[in-house]
């Protein structure tokens, strides 16, 4: 295994985060803080508890998940798209690195950045809302698993995209609505029965539900189903990436 190669890609991508700290870290932290202020402190104080959890605390897992998903996709898609755009991808393609090593470098860095960001947001949330974590191990596991899965998804988008607009389409037009409708601000039990059934087709419901269970021990769906659905999506992404490298799709003509 080319460990030096993986390390080179990983270091390069992490250095990019340092260079763009305003955009990579500060901007999502500020956005999430605004959610805490508006929905947690201002409106939340007038809302009733959900499952005996204050509204401000209830929305924390969903908001962390929102940032985690968006940043994982954004980091990984930009990470691989930029070398394609600037032409520097030639170096990666001509280097003695396997596709597994390329993915480990790019996706590993993207997921690391997202996990760091998630932890920063959790720490910042403490300033606004009192919350606790019932299952710390599972909380970190969900954080890492989701970051890796959606970084893989972002990697696929970065290879598929042939313009900056396409990079934004999936996160903005698909992922954001799914997160908002996936139980970030409410429990799906609060919806009419038909909408509860429809919500079960939204994969983000399982992510937020599982993550929330790690915090408070309450969930919309069983935690095992949440882990299972995340692993299914992870497998789908890995299979797609395997196919991309096997065929050279948009990388090697």
């Amino acid at each position: 295994m080319n460990l030096h190669g993986i390390r080179a890609i990983y270091k390069f991508e992490m250095a990019r985060m340092k260079r763009t700290v305003m955009q990579s870290v500060l901007s999502p932290v500020i956005s999430t803080c605004l959610y805490f202020v508006v929905f947690g402190s201002a409106i939340g104080s007038r809302m009733g508890d959900i499952n005996n959890i204050s509204y401000g605390a209830y929305i924390i897992p969903g908001l962390v998940m929102l940032s985690l998903l968006m940043q994982s996709i954004s980091n990984a898609s930009f990470g691989i798209y930029m070398p394609k755009f600037s032409g520097t991808i030639y170096e990666v393609l001509s280097a003695p690195v396997s596709y597994v090593e390329v993915v480990l470098g790019y996706v590993g860095a993207a997921a690391s950045k997202s996990v760091i960001l998630g932890l920063i947001i959790l720490a910042t949330a403490r300033l606004f809302v009192d919350y606790h974590v019932l299952h710390p191990f599972w909380m970190v596991s969900f954080l890492v698993l989701t970051a890796v899965t959606f970084s893989l998804f972002g990697f696929i988008i970065g290879i598929w995209a042939d313009g900056f607009e396409k990079l934004q389409i999936v996160p903005m037009m698909i992922v954001t609505p799914l997160v908002f409708l996936g139980g970030t601000f409410y429990s799906i039990d609060m919806l009419p029965e038909i909408w509860q059934t429809i919500s079960l087709f939204n994969p983000v419901v399982y992510l937020i539900s599982g993550f929330r269970w790690a915090f408070y021990g309450v969930a919309d769906v069983h935690v095992g189903v949440s882990v299972g659905m995340t692993l299914v999506f992870l497998t789908l992404c890995m299979t797609t990436i395997w196919w991309i490298f096997r065929t050279g799709y948009r990388l090697r003509p």
């Binding site: 890609i9 600037s86 001509s94």
Partner: protein, 306 residues
């Protein structure tokens, strides 16, 4: 002697049906400078891209450093350094970081001493902490070469290395290429500047419409296909080529003051002697004569027009 690069029956057809390479066979020997010449769209870059792993081949077999580029791609790619045609660099990185990144990518442990040596050889040492975006085009070209040399490759591909660089930098590049060859690196370069190939190459390959039409040692190529031209400045103006000279390929200049004789460099003695003897017999006097050997560029253009 085992070839550093061996290409056997290589074909490439792109998805749109365009056949870029047709049954290419090529052997490149260790330690030589091989110049690949051809017009735009001839297939030079496709050939290099396949050997370096940027483009998938349709059929054939290619080895680099004795390793198959598909089944032993790691070993094969470790031996290769590539300087592409375009100035593809990461603008926000410093020179040092960019070159160190390339070394790591190719599986080599950090070696600041080697990076320093490469940067000094390319006159980049003073710029090592500068961001690449702040460098001139010529300096960026040097960075590309430094990146390609960072992992100490045995084979170096230079795809149009001096395109768009000034004369001074071009001379520097040529010196660097010679130094690399002396250190045992095999160099394959594509170029539009025929004088570059003439100046540096040991062997020359010409590719046209995806086919290799000629591979030859430069000196043999020039003696085999080269033409010589003899120009005689006459004492008295002529209005036509005398009939006695029509057996020779002799032309009269438009103003009638020069006789021009083109001949194969391999048969120069007989043709020139016969011409001068005939002129003497006809009493045609000349005050001066000049000979000129055709350049590689003229040979190249001749090959493409055949």
């Amino acid at each position: 002697m085992q070839s550093d690069i061996s290409v056997r029956h290589l074909n490439k057809t792109y998805g749109d049906g365009f056949q870029a390479l047709k049954d290419i066979n090529l052997e490149i020997h260790p330690g030589e400078i091989f110049a690949l010449l051809g017009p735009n769209g001839a297939g030079k870059t496709t050939l290099i891209s396949i050997i370096c792993g940027l483009v998938n081949m349709t059929s054939g077999k290619v080895t680099a450093g004795g390793f198959d580029i598909v089944s032993q791609y790691r070993k094969a790619r470790e031996t290769i350094g590539l300087v592409p045609q375009e100035l593809n660099t990461d603008s926000f990185e410093t020179v040092w970081d960019a070159v160190s990144f390339s070394r790591g990518l190719f599986g080599k442990a950090p070696n600041p001493g080697h990076i320093e040596k490469v940067l000094k050889a390319l006159s980049l040492w003073d710029k090592r902490n500068n961001r690449i975006m702040s460098l001139s085009g010529g300096m960026k070209r040097r960075v590309m070469i430094a990146k390609a040399l960072s992992h100490e490759p045995q084979i170096l591909f230079l795809d149009e290395p001096t395109a768009g660089v000034d004369v001074e930098l071009r001379r520097d590049m040529w010196n660097l290429v010679r130094q690399l060859r002396e250190s045992g690196v095999t160099i394959i370069l594509t170029t539009h500047y025929i004088e570059e190939a003439e100046e540096m190459a040991d062997r020359i390959g010409v590719i046209r419409q995806g086919e290799i039409i000629l591979v030859e040692e430069k000196s043999r190529l020039m003696s085999k296909l080269g033409k010589k031209e003899l120009r005689l400045q006459l004492q008295h103006q002529l209005d036509r080529v005398p009939g006695e000279l029509t057996l020779e390929p002799v032309e009269l200049s438009e103003d009638g003051w020069e006789l021009i004789f083109n001949f194969d460099s391999q048969h120069e003695q007989a043709g020139v002697a016969r011409l001068l003897r005939t002129l003497g017999e006809l009493g045609i006097e000349y005050r001066d004569l000049q000979t000129r050997e055709s350049s590689l560029e003229e040979i190249f253009v001749g090959l493409l027009n055949d």
